[in-house]
């Protein structure tokens, strides 16, 4: 399973099916091309467009496949998206970025805000690499930032 860290959490909202999970954006690759979809990290509901209002499907419970390329949903080629991958896509504009920080941490006011791409772009005017660095800075020294538990419903 190639669920490597992806900070911050990138999602398109709360899952309307299980009403508990987050519809997190995933990146999958086939033939060198990336494609994106959202998946509830609790119930594995899937969206092909960055809106939970759009039609949804469900991953096969026994053999879950990418809804686009039909490769293994949790295979090496698939992982929770990182910001750089989403640049210049609809997903970037519609996704919500949240840091996995404790609200009791001293910096939580800074971190716990959901950040929309528009906000980030307008206020920082950074390229994607700088943006990632900026977002990492925002996360402070919280060691957990390097251990995002992409495993659903952490």
């Amino acid at each position: 399973m190639a669920d490597n860290p992806a900070n911050p959490w990138i999602h398109i909202g709360e899952c309307p099916v299980c009403v508990n999970g987050l519809c997190r954006v995933r990146t999958c690759s086939a033939n060198g091309q990336r494609h994106f979809f959202a998946m509830c990290d609790e119930c594995e509901a899937l969206w092909l467009t960055p809106s939970t209002q759009s039609p949804r499907t469900f991953a096969d419970s026994s053999e879950p496949k990418c809804p686009i390329c039909q490769q293994d949903l949790y295979g090496e080629q698939s992982h929770w998206s990182v910001i750089e991958e989403l640049k210049s896509t609809d997903w970037m504009e519609n996704a919500i970025f949240e840091f996995p920080v404790d609200i009791e941490s001293p910096n939580h006011e800074l971190h716990s805000e959901s950040i929309a791409w528009d906000d980030v772009g307008q206020t920082t005017d950074l390229n994607s690499a700088d943006l990632n660095a900026e977002l990492r800075d925002l996360s402070g020294d919280d060691p957990r930032m390097n251990h995002d538990e992409p495993k659903p419903e952490c």
Partner: protein, 259 residues
């Protein structure tokens, strides 16, 4: 006196080397008898002082009937569920896996040959995951109420996914239901909730989500956990008195406590 002499005569007539050989043979038999019985399933008679082994076997045979009794409990699952179960599991079950109903028999046979080393309690627990889940195929568990826990999800198994709800993650955006207790308790709660929701009992709800998915909810009279995650923490981790179960047919996709 003559009679005493007569009775001691045969012993005196045995050559010393034969006496030593007989004693050695008896010692060897004493040592090997339980091993041979255990290894090959033989029933070689025990010498004096070894009756405890027989008692153990009796106890074990008594306990061996427990899984069978549990199996009867599983038969109470709705027939449709049992049917869909065998059909669905076909894709992910190796061909060598024996049919569900033959497994207890095979297990009992295996137990009969490898007894005496495991206590009856250990044996019962090893047959049932979390005390109530029968493994009907590799990594495929069936609860008494008919819920199936199979491979799947990012963790690799639905039970592992549910285990994540035994612990809070206060950094997680949104909420994260956290069960009180351990998995042994949780699987019982889920069974209880499923039974209630299937019957449409008061305090339960059932939503058809399409594509064979169903969302069940059931209320409990006491808290079964609390709401964690960042939202839960912000609200001082309120009690969770309901459980929500997402099913595909009777296969558990996820389950967690909610407010």
């Amino acid at each position: 006196m003559p009679s005493q002499r007569t009775s001691s005569k045969p012993l005196q007539q045995i050559p010393t080397k034969w006496a030593v050989a007989i004693v050695a043979a008896l010692i060897c038999y004493t040592l090997l008898q339980p091993v041979l019985n255990r290894q090959f399933g033989w029933h070689l008679p025990a010498l004096a002082g070894e009756k405890t082994d027989d008692v153990t076997v009796e106890n074990e045979s008594d306990n061996r009937s427990r899984p069978a009794e549990d199996e009867k409990g599983f038969d109470t699952a709705p027939e449709s569920q049992v049917k869909s179960q065998s059909g669905e599991s076909a894709a992910n079950t190796p061909a060598s896996v024996p049919p569900t109903n033959s497994q207890p028999t095979a297990a009992a046979a295996k137990a009969a040959t490898s007894k005496a080393q495991t206590s009856p309690e250990q044996k019962a627990n090893s047959n049932l995951r979390y005390g109530i889940l029968q493994e009907t195929a590799p990594d495929d568990f069936l609860s008494p109420a008919g819920l199936r826990y199979t491979r799947g999800g990012p963790e690799g198994h639905r039970l592992l996914h549910i285990e994540r709800h035994l612990k809070d993650d206060p950094t997680r955006p949104g909420s994260h239901g956290v069960f009180d207790g351990d998995m042994t308790q949780v699987v019982r709660w889920l069974d209880e909730a499923y039974e209630l929701a299937k019957r449409g009992a008061k305090g339960t709800a059932k939503h058809d989500e399409g594509d064979g998915r169903t969302r069940y909810e059931a209320s409990f009279s006491k808290p079964i956990g609390y709401v964690g995650g960042r939202d839960g923490k912000r609200d001082n981790n309120p009690d969770a008195r309901k459980v929500r179960i997402i099913l595909e047919g009777n296969k558990v996709i996820t389950a967690f406590p909610i407010k």
